[in-house]
């Protein structure tokens, strides 16, 4: 008992000490990053502004090219992605030089250091590091943002459907062959350029290789997913699908568990809570830190290998080297197979291995500095998103055209201001990673003390607390509905340039109208909401309403209006009728109004607190509600 209490005391002391160390690490990182940001503010803002210009310039160019051919969009976007990444690489270089990273690298290993020509010129640096950047950039959804913005621009020129249709390989066999040929062609072009680059490495060829790689990724994003979708639809029509469903149903009955509901629930928890934490909150900053390391080369790991290994212990030749050795002696079909393997593994060498080595370098820094960096990075990101949401709420929504006009202006917040701060933080974090390596490489570093089980227990507790904190961070993400107004009954609010008002609420178990005294009867409860929409400006759009109570949603039924639509200058009111569970008739029941426009510039929502008393369910029985589905419009 005494030893257990003593162990708990030691764990507590360990937790406090670790927490203090974590706080110190976080503070030092924030201070270093903040100082670098302020000192380099003009350069960082200028470079990120160039990146912003490259992005929106390429969307504009692609929208123009799309009028001639959807395929030209690929080139436009690829140029934009390349230019934007170039500004990121240059910015990281500027920050790292300011923080003395080059000096740190040189001090890590003096005699065995292999001179890397990426330090000699910026253009050389871009050529080497662009491909891994592109791979990670695409995996975090930035390419999808390009595609989304282009689609919005294309709505007003060639039409969204036209753009996607032209790049949809499943519309016909010809389209499928065409997309396949283009994808294979780009892959082969990239391989061909690799060979040219091996013989004569120039900046222009390097950039062209990157643009081709970007084109390859974009065409896969724009049209490749359709193939997967078509396969899934094909699979759903196959007998094997019904076998799986039958097996699941049988298993559910045997286990007395509703397996589909179970898997759905588990999947929802994973998608809504676990995955956002793992991917966006933790993986993304670490991946960017690894890429920052890549700016100065995965050569650092080679230095470590050289430091600890004798020449006899050098690792066996890489898989790629083995294949190339075999290729020299092979012929016929084996030669063709080896060529394919060569192409695949050289791709791995170019894009993924350097990133993997850089990630390993970063992860060796230890969990405490990394946790501090991940926390700081996400705090900066969330702060930027919060500011962006406040700006959008101040704007208050508007038409699709107004949304499209304002999108680049609002994007200055995350793409220039926040990004410049994140770049400064990345440089500071990488410098600390190297400092950590310098300390751990030192022969004077003491070996871990015995009896450190209490430190491990403290680490586990702190890691668990940090993970809970990160989960909380991911849940703090600002709502997609940036323009979310909450008003009371009788208070007008703007929605997509219109003025909407909920006038009154009634509830009962039966309905009547002027033409039908027995309009409806329910064992549940009817809620009738009288609302109006006034179109002060812009074309008519249909405003719809849902009732929300927690995660439960109710749509309006056919007893009243499905939605409200008013032409310019007119006010249209109507009764929207909902059939709800009496248990949901409470003060938590709220109405949510949105527009049903196919494309919108803003995520605009109006929430109306209905003010229904918790005693309402007792008042439903025997209560008839009079409905006026479509009263005449007014001209205020």
């Amino acid at each position: 008992m005494v030893s257990q209490r003593r162990s708990a005391d030691h764990t507590e002391i360990g937790i406090l000490a670790l927490t203090r160390r974590f706080g110190t690490e976080l503070g030092a990182l924030a201070l270093a990053g903040g100082r670098a940001w302020i000192h380099l503010l003009p350069q960082l803002l200028a470079l990120t502004l160039l990146g912003w210009s490259a992005y929106y310039g390429s969307v504009l160019l692609s929208a123009r090219l799309a009028v001639w051919s959807a395929w030209l969009v690929i080139v436009g976007l690829a140029l934009g992605v390349t230019a934007r990444l170039a500004t990121l690489v240059v910015s990281l270089r500027v920050v790292a030089e300011h923080l003395g990273v080059s000096t740190l690298l040189r001090s890590l290993a003096s005699d065995e250091r292999i001179d890397d020509d990426r330090d000699q010129s910026l253009s050389r640096l871009l050529t080497i590091t662009m491909l891994p950047f592109l791979a990670v950039y695409a995996s975090f959804g930035y390419v999808n943002s390009f595609v989304h913005d282009l689609a919005m621009m294309s709505v007003t020129s060639i039409g969204l459907a036209t753009l996607l249709q032209d790049l949809n390989p499943t519309t016909s066999t010809v389209a499928m062959v065409a997309v396949g040929v283009v994808i294979v062609g780009l892959f082969l072009a990239r391989r061909g350029l690799d060979r040219l680059l091996d013989r004569r490495r120039t900046v222009v060829l390097g950039i062209v290789a990157v643009v081709i790689e970007a084109s390859f990724l974009l065409i896969v994003a724009l049209s490749g997913f359709r193939l997967v979708e078509a396969f899934q639809l094909w699979l759903n029509d196959r007998a094997v699908r019904s076998w799986i469903d039958t097996a699941m149903h049988t298993l559910s009955q045997l286990l007395h568990i509703d397996l589909p509901v179970f898997f759905t629930t588990v999947w929802e928890i994973f998608v809504e809570s676990v995955w956002p934490v793992l991917w966006e909150v933790i993986s993304q900053p670490l991946a960017w830190l690894a890429l920052t390391a890549l700016v100065f080369g995965s050569r650092v790991l080679s230095l470590q290998d050289l430091w600890t290994q004798t020449p006899e212990q050098q690792s066996t030749p890489s898989r790629l080297a083995q294949i190339r050795g075999q290729l020299a002696q092979a012929s016929g079909l084996r030669r063709a197979v080896l060529r394919v393997q060569d192409a695949f593994f050289s791709d791995v060498d170019d894009k993924y291995l350097p990133t993997w080595w850089a990630l390993k370098l970063v992860l060796r820094a230890g969990w405490l500095p990394l946790a501090a960096f991940v926390t700081a990075y996400n705090l900066v990101r969330l702060s930027g998103e919060w500011v962006e949401v406040q700006v959008l709420r101040a704007i208050g929504g508007g038409s699709f055209t107004e949304g499209l006009l304002l999108a680049p202006v609002v994007a200055l917040i995350p793409d220039v201001v926040v990004l410049s701060a994140q770049l400064a933080l990345l440089g500071a974090a990488f410098a600390r990673v190297l400092q950590q390596r310098e300390r751990s490489d030192s022969p004077r570093t003491a070996a871990p003390a015995p009896g450190d089980r209490r430190t491990s227990a403290a680490e586990v507790v702190l890691v668990a607390a940090l993970l809970a904190g990160f989960t909380g961070l991911s849940l703090l993400e600002p709502s997609q509905s940036a323009q979310q107004h909450t008003v009371a009954v009788g208070t007008p609010s703007t929605l997509d340039g219109k003025l909407v008002t909920v006038h009154k609420i009634r509830y009962g178990d039966s309905l009547a109208s002027a033409s039908n005294p027995e309009l409806g009867r329910s064992r549940l409860a009817f809620v009738v909401v009288t609302a109006a929409v006034y179109a002060r400006s812009g074309p008519a759009t249909t405003v719809t309403m849902q009732l929300h109570n927690g995660s439960r949603r109710y749509h309006s039924g056919s007893w009243g209006s499905f939605g409200l639509n008013a032409e310019l200058g007119f006010q249209q009111s109507g009764d929207l009728v909902f059939e709800v569970d009496p248990a949901d008739l409470s003060s938590h029941l709220e109405a949510v109004m949105t527009t049903s426009a196919f494309v919108t510039g803003f995520h605009d929502e109006v929430h109306i607190e209905l003010g229904i008393p918790d005693s309402a369910p007792a008042q439903v029985a025997g209560q008839q509600v009079f409905v006026v589905a479509a009263p005449p419009r007014e001209a205020p």
């Binding site: 502004l49 210009s53 310039g57 007003t156 038409s399 008519a540 310019l568 200058g569």
Partner: protein, 166 residues
């Protein structure tokens, strides 16, 4: 000095890109229209239209003798159009659905059957006079800027004949 040159260059590039963006969005509205002056137009299916008059009315009498009055705060705008659809062969797809336009948005025609011999709809292969009535809020009357025609076979479907209410 070098960094301020970088800042200036990036600002210049950003202004150019932003200006181009604004120009593109303004030039490509969500519902594009073609505006025509001169009182008459020809659509891609060969049908011709001439705006005879665009007047306001406090009430209307339809061909059944019923009196239509606008809602409080609104007035009627009546468009009289001479049409020639003799060269239109496909009667199934043809219609001269008229709309009334401001610079912001259109108004659709009211449910009004004009007294004969005026028509409320056009017929393919024929010519005549079609009358459409629009209910317009009083405070937006000055914003009326034209009568719209549906060019179903054209690249831009909404063709608007510029005009103001007499």
């Amino acid at each position: 000095m070098r960094r301020w040159r970088l800042v200036l260059s990036s600002l210049v590039v950003a202004v150019v890109v932003a200006g181009s963006w604004v120009w593109w969005v303004s030039a490509h509205p969500l519902r594009p229209t073609t505006r025509v002056d001169g009182g008459s137009l020809v659509l891609t299916d060969g049908s011709r239209y001439t705006l005879t008059s665009l007047t306001r009315a406090r009430s209307l009498i339809d061909r059944f003798g019923a009196t239509l009055t606008p809602v409080a705060g609104a007035t009627f705008v009546v468009a009289t159009v001479a049409y020639d659809a003799t060269s239109v062969a496909n009667a199934d797809t043809y219609s001269c659905r008229l709309t009334l336009w401001s610079d912001q948005a259109p108004w659709s025609a009211a449910d009004y059957a004009a007294p004969q011999p005026q028509q409320s709809d056009c017929r393919a292969g024929s010519s005549g006079t079609v009358v459409a009535a629009f209910e317009v809020p009083q405070r937006y009357l000055a914003e009326v800027s034209g009568v719209g025609f549906n060019d179903a076979t054209g690249a831009i479907h909404d063709v608007v004949l510029n005009a103001t209410v007499n």
